[in-house]
């Protein structure tokens, strides 16, 4: 069932321009340091850089050797050194060490630091402190948007999530606003804007300010993209925390897709080498299965294999001329497809192996129970067992967070015991992890003032331990204290199941979670787009604690063509998951929209948890 867009689906804008722009700017910056030079690149920037300008382009502009910015010092003999880094203090120290070592050795070289996407005062300050401010020249490479796919733009800023949602550091908001500004200058103004969340609102306002400052440029242009929707990640943690079961999401969860490509290890390639594979719409096989529920993928792949075989077989009955045609035209495509097919089959096998080992079914069942809010006690003990058995620190955290959010915080007793267990399993430094999670609102304790809890504790004093557990169960199923539960009801996130949910022919967006749950973020977007405003969603907005933070901005001019009005740019601040992307792609197919995704980084549950974890230094 491939990727059948409705025939009237609008064309996507061409985002390759962003790549060209970034490349030209980088080349310009490199040319500012004429002559041969060595380039030091920050590890995080390597993959994105590779997508923009490969080694041969760099060589053309007289880059001699490439080094990675890492802890150990590099030995470079070039007279000119160029650093391409994120604006981080750590990098500044690295550069300072290098320059100061040169100074001690009495060597003078030219140094140039290129900050991407922008330079921060704190960095310059460090350079000044280290006494090398005058020795280096600083530049900015305003590369903030990397088109990972035809409909997916990533800012490649995974630290955004931690910096903003945990540390409350707002420095990236400016970067986001700049990126939006760039998009609106290139692809016309956005006539309809919606958004929810504090960060969304701030970014939006900053962006508007930027537009106002140099207005006149976009005025009078026809908008190419009709809607823009900004969404904070903290509006919907639940979706991001669920195990992904759509193929692309599953590949991300299992192998980690990095900057649009994945390293398939020997167990997938069935050779002794790892292989780096680019996963995007150009991979024909992948494009057809990326949005499928995993249970369909195998069937699909084997069907595909049969088709391929049939096509190969056609050549039996051919005469010379046809054969010539076949070899010159089709064979290459078939071979390519063959290669990809075997790769994805390998990946599937590997996923299957891993998932069955860890009782994946049980896990999914627990997750669904949490989402629907029944058998809380059972789920809690499942999580406890999970921790006790040291299955995986990240997974355990994820389940606890899921429990906390769906239940609007853990009962103090559970909170304490789970925390103790966790610390015993993984060490006390995770006290900080828990504190982080609490600050981010991912894992919280129910306030003891909560009336129901109070009643509960009184009752439990009167009866025996065993009975107390049952009473707690009874109370929590009765209680309506969870906002998630209320939102879920309001927005109908848990579809009523009558009979088996047919994952082959999905009915709604819930298919990305095996029909158990419609992603909240996607549902909000769907609802708002349907109404063209937040009207009628007041209750939901209130439950999301965002009464002040949901906004709509529509321009009255109806210059936008009907085509562009069906193009929607969704901006995820803090990252989005492949499941959400798949769900919205599905929604687009159903309604004749096309979604374009702009995210600070593609994320998944493991990345969110890692961002919150305090690891040993």
């Amino acid at each position: 069932m491939a990727f059948p867009h409705r025939p009237d689906a609008p064309e996507l804008p061409d985002f390759s321009m962003l790549k060209r722009l970034a490349r030209d700017q980088l080349i310009y910056l490199l040319e500012q340091l004429p002559g041969k030079k060595d380039l030091f690149i920050e590890a995080d920037l390597m993959s994105p850089l590779d997508r923009i300008a490969n080694v041969s382009i760099l060589k053309q502009h007289e880059v001699d050797k490439l080094y990675k910015v890492e802890s150990k010092p590099a030995v470079s003999s070039s007279e000119q050194l160029c650093f391409l880094v994120r604006p981080r203090i750590k990098n500044m120290r690295y550069i300072a060490n290098l320059v100061n070592a040169d100074k001690l050795a009495g060597r003078t070289r030219k140094y140039k630091v290129i900050f991407s996407p922008q330079k921060f005062y704190a960095c310059e300050m460090v350079l000044e402190e280290e006494g090398i401010y005058g020795d280096v020249s600083c530049d900015e490479w305003a590369f903030s948007l990397l088109p990972l796919d035809v409909d997916l733009l990533s800012m490649e800023l995974p630290e955004f999530f931690r910096d903003y949602f945990l540390e409350g550091d707002q420095r990236w908001i400016n970067t986001v606003a700049q990126a939006l500004h760039l998009l609106s200058t290139l692809y016309g103004p956005f006539p309809n804007c919606y958004g929810i969340g504090r960060c969304a609102k701030m970014s939006y306002e900053l962006w508007r300010k930027l537009e106002d400052e140099e207005d006149g440029e976009t005025k009078g242009r026809r908008p190419e993209i009709g809607h823009i929707f900004l969404l904070d990640r903290d509006m919907d943690f639940v979706t991001a925390l669920c195990s992904q079961v759509v193929y692309e999401g599953l590949v991300d969860d299992t192998f980690r897709i990095k900057c649009g490509s994945v390293d398939f290890g020997p167990e997938v390639t069935s050779s002794d080498k790892s292989l780096k594979v680019l996963l995007n719409a150009e991979d024909k096989v992948f494009n057809e299965i990326r949005n499928e529920h995993f249970s369909n993928v195998f069937g699909f792949l084997s069907q595909k294999a049969r088709n391929l075989q049939a096509q190969y077989d056609r050549r039996r009955g051919m005469d010379i001329k046809q054969m010539k045609n076949f070899v010159s035209q089709e064979l290459k495509g078939l071979k390519q497809e063959h290669r990809l097919l075997s790769l994805h089959i390998g990946a599937c096998e590997s996923i299957m192996k891993k998932k069955t080992k860890q009782d994946f079914q049980e896990l999914i069942k627990t997750e669904h129970a949490l989402l629907e809010g029944f058998n809380i006690r059972e789920s809690t003990s499942y999580i406890e067992e999970h921790i006790d058995r040291q299955v995986s620190p990240i997974e355990s955290l994820r389940l606890m967070c899921l429990l906390s959010i769906t239940e609007n915080g853990l009962i103090p007793k559970d909170y304490r015991s789970l925390k103790t267990q966790y610390l015993q399993s993984y060490g006390p430094e995770h006290l900080l992890t828990f504190s982080n999670l609490r600050r981010a609102g991912l894992l919280t304790e129910q306030a003891p003032g909560d009336t129901l809890t109070a009643v509960e504790s009184k009752v439990s004093k009167l009866v025996t331990d065993k009975a107390a557990g049952k009473i707690t169960d009874a109370f929590s199923s009765l209680a309506k204290r969870s906002n998630f539960r209320a939102i879920s009801k309001k927005l109908n996130l848990i579809p009523r199941v009558d009979g088996e949910y047919d994952l082959k022919v999905p009915r709604d967006m819930a298919y990305v979670f095996s029909g158990a749950y419609v992603p909240l973020s996607c549902r909000i977007i769907e609802q708002v787009l349907e109404r063209r405003s937040w009207q009628g969603l007041d209750e939901v907005v209130r439950l999301l604690n965002c009464s002040e933070l949901a906004f709509t901005d529509m321009t009255k001019e109806d210059k936008a063509s009907s085509e562009s009005l069906r193009l929607i740019l969704v901006v995820f601040l803090g990252g989005c998951t492949f499941s959400e992307i798949s769900a919205l792609r599905f929604l687009g197919r159903e309604k004749g929209y096309r979604f374009i995704f702009l995210t600070t980084a593609v994320t998944n549950s493991a990345r969110l948890m890692e961002a919150m974890s305090e690891v040993k230094a």
């Binding site: 005062y121 300050m125 707002q170 420095r171 067992e385 058995r389 399993s425």
Partner: protein, 779 residues
């Protein structure tokens, strides 16, 4: 001229700026008979003689005056100090031309203009030259010595070739060219013999041509490179001329030099005859791009070569197309049929386009509005008979002329010609208007020419505002309000620039008021910091939501305040505090202090956890000492596991008790560890030690994971009934699993077993289940 001069011009030091610029006069300079009581007066007039400034000269003796390209007055003093004044007599700055100049005094000085700006060249008392090519970016260059130079050169000038300034000087019959490396002797080609001294030399406005006046009354004209001679002329006047300047038009083939004596003005060129004028008054010549301005006490005139277009049209009995067109138009106004005849004549020659162009061009060179009008009318008349004549040249000329007429006005006094205006560009002209504080006119011009706001109106408004803040007699409130009223939200106006200017004038309060209007925090904050309003800066930075800006302020504050004040400031700004904590101080985590802190914060859970960790660490240290191996930094769970793996069961149990490890965890832990050791005997013993809190299915699972079916089977019998089927399936006993499932009459279990039935081997079992199912349904 509007001025009312008491002295003769010759009694004053005079400097007039090109491009219709202002005139500076220094009256009563130091004459030999020093009248000590009379101080000299420096006066500045517009080109029309309107007084702009007048001030009493209080510094040392001035040798030379000159205007820079930015219309700043440079006054070169005898001691080599150059004082710079603005157009309105406001002192800007001063700089010195170096020690050598100071010692030897200044003999003579010239201000000259190059493409870099304005330069100063100085001849010292030691007959050495020092020059600076750009006074804005002062770099002094001392020129090499001229060999055998004992007395001051008879005349000298600066040349500018290939972007380098040279000095050409004449000593007796010899000419020397100085560049910054060497001194070379040069001879102009084709110079008439018998020259014993050069009295005067002149370089053209563009530095392309050079004229030399010798003591024989002979004038040599050639290129400035001294490679080519253009023409020569003998005027037979041996008296040294007062001034000699070039008078030619760019791109014109005619070249002429104007030579002035006390009462005589002579124009000589490539012709046997010269043109002579009589000067009624003492006059002064100002070389311009396309001619010479001549002013005296009562008049101000412009002498230039008649442009080709004007000549063609106004030549007597001219039959040029432009002349005919003008005639035709005149006849047309008289309603005479001759108009048609003239027009026809032009059209027959096919020269109508040319005629229109000629009229437009000639109009540009006219100074009198009525002539401009009649020429333009003629052009417009001719245009009607042309199909596709692009209108923009006509329209632009009309606009330009209106602008020119406006600035040439007596009150404004910038007598620009059309060619000068084009060379100067409208931007520079606007700048000059702003410099003269003629803001309304500048704005009107911008609006009239529809210049983009950022370049035009708002730039001028910003200048106006900067001027406004300098008016010290108006209160801060009023100034701020007046500025905001006029500027509003005009795009391109930077309030912070204006505020910076206000601060520069010492009006801090006004600057803060103005900054309130600045919409960009990034612009507000640095200035606030500069004004030492750090707290205001901090709150502004926080309001902006730009972390980077907050850091800027924080680091600034940290240097400025003492520690206590710094933290007090931070306490009122929680966001700044959190930022500070996170980035600057770094995290210091000593466990004990952490625990104390946790207690203080009443976070007993964390305090307890920290204490436990301290206990664990001590214990781990002891274990490492006693047992060897690595224990430090392991979690509690891992510590116990390591102990079991090392065979220290007793200690493991002790530890579990000490730290109150729950039973469930202990069982899981032990189970996994023993299975890893493959110590099946111990495992069995352990399983029987008491009733398992986690059931027995995990035992089966873990044995199977180690592929030990034999051991696994031992535990299947002990698995509780609800998990029995699963356990049996795990060890691969499908038949028994089926039996149990049937016994339980559990549909889910039945199908689970059925799904495990594979191929022929389990055929019988599958049948059995199907039968059982059918039976169950019957019931």
């Amino acid at each position: 001229m509007d001025w009312d001069l008491k002295e003769e011009l010759r009694d004053c030091l005079v400097a007039a700026a090109p491009y219709g610029g202002p005139i500076a006069l220094l009256r009563n300079p130091w004459r030999k008979e020093k009248a000590a009581s009379v101080r000299p007066v420096l006066e500045i007039y517009s080109a029309s003689g309107m007084p702009l400034a007048s001030l009493l000269w209080k510094s040392g003796p001035v040798v030379s005056l000159g205007w820079s390209a930015e219309e700043e007055l440079l006054c070169v003093q005898e001691d080599g100090v150059v004082l710079v004044y603005g157009l309105h007599g406001d002192f800007r700055r001063h700089f010195s031309m170096g020690n050598e100049v100071l010692q030897n005094r200044v003999l003579d000085a010239r201000i000259f203009h190059t493409e870099f700006g304005s330069g100063v060249a100085i001849l010292t008392g030691a007959h050495r030259f020092t020059l600076s090519a750009n006074v804005g970016d002062l770099k002094l260059r001392r020129m090499p010595e001229v060999p055998g130079l004992q007395s001051a050169p008879s005349c000298w000038t600066t040349l500018c070739q290939d972007r380098v300034a040279h000095i050409l000087l004449a000593v007796g019959p010899d000419l020397y060219l100085l560049d910054h490396a060497a001194c070379s002797s040069v001879t102009p080609p084709g110079l008439a013999p018998g020259v014993s001294s050069f009295l005067q030399m002149a370089v053209s406005f563009t530095y392309r041509h050079l004229a030399l006046f010798t003591d024989t009354g002979y004038i040599w004209m050639g290129t400035a490179s001294l490679k080519e001679k253009l023409c020569e002329f003998n005027c037979n006047i041996r008296a040294p001329p007062k001034q000699m300047v070039w008078c030619s038009r760019p791109r014109s083939k005619e070249r002429a030099v104007v030579v002035a004596w006390e009462r005589r003005l002579m124009v000589v060129g490539d012709a046997p005859e010269s043109i002579q004028f009589v000067l009624d008054e003492d006059s002064y010549l100002v070389p311009e791009l396309d001619g010479v301005r001549i002013f005296s006490r009562s008049t101000h005139e412009f002498l230039h070569e008649v442009p080709v277009a004007s000549e063609e049209i106004f030549k007597i009995a001219s039959m040029a197309p432009g002349a005919l067109l003008l005639e035709a138009q005149k006849e047309y106004e008289k309603e005479s049929q001759k108009a048609d005849e003239y027009l026809r004549e032009i059209q027959e020659l096919g020269q109508l386009t040319q005629a229109v162009q000629q009229c437009i061009e000639a109009a540009g060179h006219e100074h009198r509005p009525d002539m401009q009008k009649s020429l333009l009318r003629a052009a417009s008349f001719g245009k009607c008979f042309l199909d596709r004549f692009p209108p923009d040249s006509f329209v632009r000329m009309c606009q330009d002329l209106r602008v020119l007429n406006a600035v040439r006005d007596y009150h404004i006094g910038i007598p620009l010609t059309y060619s000068q205006y084009k060379q100067l560009t409208i931007q520079v002209l606007l700048d000059r208007l702003v410099l003269r504080r003629l803001y309304p006119l500048a704005i009107q011009i911008c609006e009239y020419l529809r210049l983009p706001e950022v370049q035009g109106v708002s730039r001028i408004l910003a200048h106006w505002a900067c001027y406004k803040v300098q008016q010290k007699d108006v209160s801060d409130e009023d100034v701020a309000r007046a500025i905001n009223q006029k500027l509003g939200d005009t795009p391109g106006v930077s309030y912070s620039d204006i505020a910076a200017r206000a601060y520069g004038c010492g009006r801090t309060e006004l600057a803060i008021k103005l900054l309130e209007y600045e919409p960009r925090s990034g612009e507000q904050v640095p200035l606030l910091l500069k004004m030492k309003r750090s707290k205001l800066a901090l709150s502004k930075a926080i309001e902006s939501g730009d972390t980077d800006l907050v850091f800027t302020v924080l680091l600034h504050l940290k240097n400025e305040l003492n520690r206590g004040d710094f933290f007090m400031t931070l306490r009122n700004q929680p966001m700044a505090l959190s930022l500070y904590r996170q980035r600057i101080e770094g995290r210091v985590a000593a466990l004990q202090t952490a625990a104390d802190a946790f207690y203080k914060a009443k976070n007993e859970f964390a305090a307890k956890a920290t204490e436990d960790q301290m206990r664990l660490l001590r214990l781990q240290r002891r274990l490492e000492d006693e047992l060897g191996g690595r224990f430090l930094d392991l979690s509690l769970h891992d510590t116990v596991t390591t102990l079991i793996l090392g065979g220290h069961n007793k200690r493991a149990e002790q530890l579990a008790r000490d730290f109150r490890i729950p039973d469930k965890r202990l069982w899981w832990l032990k189970l996994t560890a023993l299975a890893d050791l493959e110590d099946w005997e111990e495992l069995e013993k352990f399983s029987k030690s008491k009733k398992s809190p986690i059931g027995y299915l995990p035992f089966v699972e873990i044995c199977m994971k180690q592929h030990n079916k034999y051991e696994a089977k031992k535990y299947t019998s002990r698995v509780g009934p609800e998990q029995k089927v699963k356990a049996l399936l795990l060890v691969g006993d499908v038949a028994q699993a089926a039996d149990v499932a049937i016994e339980h009459r559990n549909e889910a279990e039945l199908s689970l077993v059925l799904s495990h039935c594979t191929g022929a081997t389990d055929g019988a079992t599958a049948d059995k289940i199907q039968r059982a199912r059918a039976q169950a349904q019957k019931k």
